[in-house]
């Protein structure tokens, strides 16, 4: 067994035992924190598809998380209200609202990514970074002024989505559901990067000119990946909305895009699992530092700089490869 497999196995065991541990220690908050880490991990891993495999540096990934969250929040609001459209009512009263909400949230985020991606992909390099940021800011202000759904105040959800078999209102069930979503995403994504599509994408990300010279219409593949990543971020958003039972425009702010990027880089770009690890490190650091000082950012900042300067490939590869690099 390689170190990587060992590491993943260990992580899987730990994660699946976590709820039991949380109950044992009488600390249900641990579960909520862990769920949040899983969700952010999902969002970061979806960003990693863009950064690590497609070489598309998007500084607006929070937009898709936000759209997913808002789609879930808005649907939740309407599905719970009387007098909705008959078509929606069919599914709404069957106590499986999640079956509508989650796919629609993914769909909404994918659609947004498709449209925005089509425009953004006309540019490259620094311009791409900035235009993705601009679109995210545009959406941020759009949701701030979206009065019908709370505007800047955000939107509170009463309870979580309903799914068959699992009861998301139960934190343990919710945790396992998040874990399931994350693992499913990671499995599908790692299949994806080794599929024909993934191969061509990785090639395009590596050397676009060469790929075109071989006959690849690179724009289509990039747009498809942008859409997929957006949709996955939408799923994370929908989960996040369910987790905190609340959505607000703050989710679309560029700082969240920045934080997601930090998670990807911290964990290890282009590794899919790394960003999940990065999310855990970032969020735990935030929690941990917060316990010791009000001024946690004064420590977090330099830590990030040091991480960039000295852990060039992220923490996960560092962990997995151990001392091999020095040997």
């Amino acid at each position: 067994m390689t170190r990587k497999q060992l590491f993943l196995l260990l992580a899987a065991v730990l994660l699946s035992l976590l709820p039991a541990a949380a109950h044992l220690f009488g600390n249900p908050y641990l579960l909520s924190l862990a769920s949040r880490i899983l969700i952010y991990g999902l969002a970061a891993a979806s960003l990693d598809l863009l950064l690590g495999y497609g070489a598309m540096i998007s500084l607006g990934h929070a937009a898709y998380v936000g759209i997913g969250a808002y789609a879930a929040g808005i649907l939740h609001l309407h599905l719970g209200a009387p007098g909705l459209a008959p078509a929606l009512a069919l599914v709404a009263d069957s106590e499986v609202s999640g079956l509508v909400i989650l796919p629609l949230a993914v769909l909404a985020a994918s659609l947004a990514a498709l449209v925005i991606g089509a425009l953004c992909l006309r540019t490259t390099g620094m311009h791409f970074i900035m235009i993705t940021l601009a679109f995210a800011q545009m959406l941020y202000y759009f949701f701030i002024s979206l009065e019908a759904y709370g505007g800047d105040d955000g939107l509170s959800l009463l309870g979580r989505s309903k799914l068959p078999l699992v009861n998301l209102d139960n934190d343990t069930h919710f945790y396992y559901f998040c874990l399931f979503c994350l693992i499913a995403f990671l499995l599908l994504a790692s299949r994806l990067v080794h599929s024909r599509f993934g191969l061509i994408l990785r090639g395009t990300g590596d050397n676009e000119r060469r790929a075109r010279g071989l006959g690849v219409n690179t724009g289509r593949y990039r747009l498809a990946l942008f859409t997929i990543a957006g949709g996955s971020a939408g799923l994370a958003g929908a989960l996040l909305a369910n987790h905190s039972e609340f959505v607000s425009p703050g989710l679309l702010n560029w700082t969240l895009s920045g934080e997601l990027m930090v998670m990807v880089l911290l964990g290890g770009i282009g590794t899919l699992f790394g960003p999940v690890f990065g999310a855990a490190v970032y969020l735990l650091l935030e929690e941990g530092l917060n316990m010791y000082t009000e001024h946690w950012m004064a420590y977090m900042g330099p830590l990030l700089v040091l991480a960039v300067l000295f852990a060039r490939n992220g923490l996960l590869p560092l962990l997995i490869s151990g001392r091999k690099r020095h040997g």
């Binding site: 080794h194 599929s195 024909r196 599509f197 191969l199 990785r202 090639g203 590596d206 050397n207 071989l214």
Partner: protein, 249 residues
């Protein structure tokens, strides 16, 4: 006279005030190895870029197998059967050798939106990949990242990627650049074996290579073709000697 596979007439391309390609005409016949020589800055790479579609000419015509391709984008031209290698090695450094070749094999087809099945399980790919790995002597490196290959092996891989799709026209832009003596010999052998199977446009500085491989040679100076002919004709051409070797008179 054999039929022309590629016909370039009156091509012009300028960058600002610099005329990189100046009323250039060139005809590459089906099945020949056609070498393109000229001093540095003569506009060879600019021409290659216009043939491959990485640059679009300002004016003039590029006709390939009877079809006007002057304004087609690069990936379109690739699908028509024009393959190229680059002056500076252009391979997918982060992919493995097998992935590089696999990508080359798959790239020409439109239907690559397969998201879950491993790329290696694309129809009829395995045999072709094995064959390519064997043919370009890369079998022992198949799962190595391309970045870890030696310079010569990278060159070999690059040429392999261009060849693996059985192109009609192969454009080799200074394939010998930076190769050690062993590498040059090896690559010359590979190209010689290709002779007759497909048409090759060879841009090269190494005169040994050019004269040993080429059927015909075109000499570029200042973006213009000053002479075309067999190696013997070129060697005897006073204009060429003066322009290229700088021998005055």
């Amino acid at each position: 006279m054999a039929e022309a596979l590629l016909d370039v007439t009156g091509l012009n391309k300028s960058f600002g005030a610099l005329l990189a390609t100046n009323d250039l005409s060139l005809s590459v016949r089906q099945g020949e190895v056609h070498a393109l020589i000229g001093p540095n800055g003569a506009g060879k790479t600019t021409l290659v870029n216009q043939l491959s579609g990485d640059l679009i000419a300002d004016s003039g015509r590029v006709v390939f197998r009877g079809q006007d391709i002057t304004r087609l984008p690069a990936h379109h031209r690739a699908r028509l059967g024009i393959a190229r290698s680059f002056q500076i090695t252009h391979i997918f450094e982060n992919l493995t050798v097998a992935e590089n070749l696999g990508l080359a094999l798959l790239a020409g087809h439109g239907g690559n939106f397969h998201f879950f099945r491993h790329w290696r399980r694309a129809p009829r790919l395995t045999e072709r990949l094995e064959e390519a790995l064997t043919r370009f002597d890369l079998l022992q490196h198949r799962d190595q990242p391309a970045a870890s290959l030696s310079h010569g092996e990278k060159r070999q891989l690059e040429v392999g990627m261009a060849l693996v799709v059985d192109p009609q026209l192969l454009i080799l832009d200074e394939p010998m650049a930076g190769l050690g003596p062993g590498g040059t010999v090896e690559l010359t052998r590979i190209i010689r074996r290709l002779k007759g199977q497909l048409t090759i446009l060879l841009v090269e500085h190494d005169m040994d290579v050019v004269f040993s491989l080429a059927d015909r040679i075109t000499v570029l100076v200042y973006g213009h073709d000053i002479a075309t002919g067999t190696p013997a004709e070129i060697r005897g051409n006073a204009l060429v000697r003066q322009a290229y070797l700088g021998e005055e008179g």
